[in-house]
């Protein structure tokens, strides 16, 4: 039988069939962060003799609010730390940490064919490697640490073929925002999105991660890309990967995971991105999105309009901004920072702008290229790595009524701060908007404000 990528990964992990079309699915790696892990770890300690199935299958990190911002978050970090130490779990902590979905790939813990789970909805990011990566709650994560399994109904598969030549300035972020606008904010519910097509094939791993990161924003169980030479090239030499023959042996298996020709899908969607321009959300879910030079739709949802302080027909370019943020597991990898720096080089931001690299390793790599100077010369704040304001917890929370253009993934009411208004966009658009003080693409910026002469 011809199999999809999901079929292949799924079949290799079913421990037992369960009632109600459920399966007991083996999880190769569990990722544990400080916000959602402590309650489950404590439960296992109190009621199950502190026994974990296999501590070597767990990777832990303090990432969401790191360093801690107050007493409570300090305790969360400390609980994770002592728990990891007690069990000999690999822990990434202050100084060498980063956002879990950035760090896990960067250190080579994800690879094609694995099943991964984490108490975090953006775990789907890891599907870029051809793994089945699942966001779950605390109790299910605890179950996965106790018995190394999840109870799951096999998701349906939506094959999304992405074709065409992107318009000027459009990036992977614009592609995924466009995909969500096409299939809708809840259109992926019950599905794994399998991304195919020449546009995806040509993408770097960073770009594929951006694409998979927002699968949950269409309600999907996860996103997946087929492993190929790009995947293999990325993983070669990473910290958690073996070298020499052991690595070569894995490659043969990874190559076998490509979807079979003639595999059947529950749904097939073709998305033509020809001429796609940079996209920006106007509303309160990621599907409420238009081109950066567009206007708020005539049939816009009234609740979204009210929250965002907008009227149908308002041009996004006319919106004055109060803050800009480049960061998050969607767009804070080295390639994202390079793109933002290219826009900011020789220019000045006009609104408070925060640039937060996705991991300390990304931070150091960026600094080796001098990107930190570009950001700081432009007047932006260059921070250590953390989730920061993405979820409205620390390091730049947005005040009520203020408008923030952000390279993150969620524009829900209150997401980046109670009453704060978020416009999602690519790092390039965020950077251009930070200079303009209103929403605009790098092209708009070029037209409005040619850059100062760059010396050196």
């Amino acid at each position: 039988m011809s199999k999809s990528l999901l079929d292949k990964v799924w079949d290799a992990h079913v421990v037992e069939d369960l009632p109600g079309e459920n399966a007991l699915l083996f999880i190769d790696r569990v990722i544990a962060h400080e916000i959602t892990t402590p309650q489950g770890a404590i439960d296992i300690q109190e009621r199950f003799g502190d026994k974990l199935y296999d501590p070597d299958r767990i990777i832990a990190m303090n990432d969401h609010v790191s360093p801690a911002k107050d007493q409570e978050t300090a305790i969360q970090a400390q609980v994770l730390r002592t728990w990891a130490k007690r069990h000999g779990i690999k822990l990434y902590d202050i100084g060498d940490n980063g956002i879990c979905h950035v760090m896990v790939p960067e250190r080579g813990y994800v690879e094609p064919g694995l099943t991964m789970a984490c108490g975090d909805s953006h775990t789907c990011t890891l599907g870029a490697f051809g793994a089945l990566a699942l966001g779950i709650g605390t109790t299910l994560q605890a179950g996965a640490m106790l018995a190394q399994c999840l109870i799951l109904q096999k998701p349906k598969v939506m094959r999304i073929d992405i074709e065409g030549k992107l318009g000027h300035g459009a990036t992977a972020k614009d592609v995924i925002l466009y995909v969500i606008s096409k299939i809708s904010f809840k259109g992926g519910t019950g599905y794994v999105l399998e991304y195919h097509g020449p546009v995806v094939d040509a993408m770097s791993m960073d770009e594929r991660m951006t694409l998979c990161n927002m699968a949950i924003e269409a309600g999907a169980t996860s996103g997946m890309c087929e492993p190929d030479e790009t995947t293999i090239g990325y993983l070669r030499g990473r910290e958690a990967q073996p070298t020499g023959e052991a690595f070569e042996k894995k490659i043969a298996y990874w190559r076998s995971l490509k979807a079979d020709p003639g595999a059947s899908y529950d749904k097939v969607v073709k998305i033509d991105v020809s001429g796609l321009r940079p996209m920006v959300t106007w509303g309160t879910n990621p599907g409420e999105v238009v081109p950066a030079d567009g206007t708020v739709p005539a049939d816009a949802n009234a609740t979204s309009l009210e929250y965002m302080g907008l009227q149908p027909g308002t041009s996004l370019r006319s919106l004055e901004l109060d803050q800009a943020f480049i960061g998050s597991c969607t767009n804070s990898r080295l390639s994202d920072l390079r793109i933002a720096a290219d826009v900011l080089r020789g220019r000045k931001v006009t609104i408070p702008t925060i640039v937060t690299p996705g991991s300390q390793a990304v931070k150091r790599a960026a600094e080796r290229e001098g990107l930190h100077d570009v950001f700081q010369d432009a007047g932006a704040l260059w921070t250590h790595s953390s989730c920061g304001p993405c979820l409205g917890m620390s390091m730049g929370v947005v005040a009520p009524g203020l408008r923030c253009v952000s390279s993150t993934n969620r524009n829900f009411p209150g997401r980046m701060g109670n009453g704060g208004r978020v416009h999602l966009a690519s790092p390039a658009v965020v950077a251009a908007s930070a200079v303009l003080g209103r929403i605009g693409s790098p092209e708009d910026l070029e037209a409005a404000a040619p850059r100062e002469k760059v010396t050196a």
Binding site: Q39, D43, I44, G119, G137, T139, L140, T189, Y253, P413
Partner: protein
């Protein structure tokens, strides 16, 4: 803390009807309240991220069943959303559809996720009281009409009997045997 989920067989409920779709978990409980290490005491933060949420809750102090429009609980995986609801005394959520992770979290904590649309949902949205028979998988609205609903048979057990973690613990030996026999890549 974190004792077994309490047995819920029948719910006689007062409703809190929220005529909205896409109530995400950031609205149910904003991230700034996720700084603890306990599953309890989160009811005080319920709906603080939803425009008009606190007022709505204050107007229905005894409500224990939420009725809402589609895609309830989408977004973040935070189980705190379910803990905030149960801490506040909610026993069930009725909506046409749920965010996948929220639905799984609900089952694991004995909060009944009831998928209902069409006439049943409209009746529930108008109903001040509701009776839910979990075992029989049916609910009765204020006008006396009864509507059936589906529950995942395995997860239903976790609502009726609790013990999701205990159930997982019974599987450890089988999982180890499976792993030992697994072909190495």
């Amino acid at each position: 803390m974190a004792a077994r989920v309490k047995t819920v067989v029948k719910v006689k409920g007062q409703t809190l009807c929220v005529e909205r779709a896409n109530i995400d978990t950031d609205q149910i409980i904003p991230a700034r309240f996720l700084t603890g290490i306990s599953k309890t005491g989160l009811g005080q933060y319920l709906f603080l991220g939803m425009p008009g949420g606190p007022e709505m809750l204050a107007a229905h102090p005894d409500a224990n069943v939420i009725v809402a429009r589609e895609n309830f609980g989408c977004g973040s995986s935070r189980e705190h959303a379910v803990w905030a609801l149960t801490d506040r005394g909610f026993k069930a959520v009725i909506a046409p559809s749920f965010g996948r992770i929220f639905e799984e979290n609900a089952y694991a904590n004995g909060l009944i996720p009831i998928a209902l649309d069409g006439e049943g949902l409209e009746a529930a949205l108008k109903s001040r009281t509701i009776e839910i028979d979990v075992e029989g998988q049916k609910l009765t609205t204020e006008d006396g009409k009864t509507y059936g609903f589906e529950l995942d048979p395995l997860r239903k057990r976790f609502i009726l009997e609790g013990g999701f973690m205990e159930w997982m613990a019974t599987k450890i030996d089988a999982v180890r045997a499976w792993e030992a026999a697994r072909p190495t890549v």
